[in-house]
Symmetry: C2
Subunit: 213 residues, 2 copies
DNA sequence: TAGATTGTTAATCGATTAACAATC
DNA sequence: TAGATTGTTAATCGATTAACAATC
């Protein structure tokens, strides 16, 4: 209990460091794919996740999850523990804002449903798109977005609108009470500290690769 | 024989820390958007990029880029310097592997061309898709992929295939001499250390958000 | 000059990892 | 027991930041 890790955490949040949290989904994916055996060693987990074995043991120790010396970690128990920690033990409802190419692609991406995330709403501002079906979800007018959020239809949103619209969309969602945002628009959105945001940008990724390649 | 994640520097002494490199695209975007004035202070850059001003000064100092005390940094000079550092002073040719929803969305994403990345080839294994046009690029049979890479048609690739195909595609590209990979498949691919890879996964992002939200 | 802002130092923070005693 | 593997310590590494002299 003497490992200092208060500084790197999000304000008011419990224990795990950002670095640890970012690795949990990787571990979880592995644990979901495993069919053989019901225990796994930190060595195997580490190799598959591309990290150091000591790092794995420290992460799981921080999680409060115990293994068995000489044996390893229980696969089903660890899987459940990580799911619980990430808050995905039950399905999460997600809205996608922007029904262009990217929004459509994200909405159709089957991997989401498989991991517990249900796309329950898609919004756009373009009358041509409103009313059309993407999968089995109808594209709605973006004016419906705040009300739907406020009434609890969803609590996570993916922003897939053009750069110029992203900040306005983000503010609308925040005002309506959104819990967290994933921003695919190629611009940084600014929101209150209390709302977690992750930004993913294709050209940023390519530019970083340009440096190393 | 893998491990293309974060931490320390990549192959050789490239000079800049990973943290610094990951911030350069943010600075660059700001510098490209600015029209007012021809100098900018570390304070303004920092605020817009969401980092500490001392961090900005340190990054630019590491770049070997000098500002003027009491004045700030030259916008056009800094913009050019970052472009040169990232290796994007000239246009880069990129292939997209997988012409499904995601691959199509990425290919159509205008932000790429605007940032200097030209999608010069799209590959798929599905005969239904081969021959169709996405923008002005024809979808080719994936069997053409290694030859095109070998002949220098492109040197960066975006993997947008299903998880089960990602590792095979990555290996084919590496054998054909690819310089760097951006992997959107929901699985981690393993490549030699010398090839930089970045992995972007939607459900991983959502799972991380689930923890904080 | 007087105010502004850089460039750099030093402290600190956060994260990783080798090593090994504990123990299954 | 003998081998395997955890849990934890301590060292180290990498990155951030406050502070301030230098200087435009």
């Amino acid at each position: 209990m003497d490992r200092a890790q208060d500084g790197g955490n999000v304000a008011g949040m419990s224990g795990l460091s950002r670095a640890t949290v970012s690795r949990l989904p990787q571990y979880l994916r592995l644990l979901e794919d495993i069919e053989t055996g019901d225990t796994i060693s930190s060595d195997l987990l580490a190799e598959a996740a591309g990290v150091n074995a000591a790092n794995v043991r420290r992460d799981l120790s921080d999680l409060g999850f115990q293994g068995t010396r000489g044996v390893g970690y229980s696969v089903p128990n660890l899987r459940d523990r990580i799911r619980r920690e990430l808050g995905i033990e039950k399905r999460r409802k997600v809205a996608i804002v922007g029904a262009g190419n990217l929004g459509t692609a994200l909405a159709r991406y089957g991997g989401l449903a498989k991991r517990g995330f249900d796309v329950v709403a898609i919004y756009d501002i373009d009358q041509e798109r409103i009313g059309s079906l993407i999968g089995d979800v109808k594209v709605q007018d973006i004016s419906e977005m705040p009300g739907d959020c406020g009434s609890g239809l969803y609590d996570m949103a993916i922003i897939a609108v053009p750069a110029r619209a992203a900040q306005t969309v983000a503010e609308g969602l925040v005002d309506a009470g959104i819990s967290s945002l994933l921003n695919f628009a190629p611009v940084r959105v600014s929101v209150p500290d209390a709302i977690p945001v992750r930004q993913v940008d294709l050209s940023t990724e390519l530019q970083i690769l340009s440096y190393y390649g």
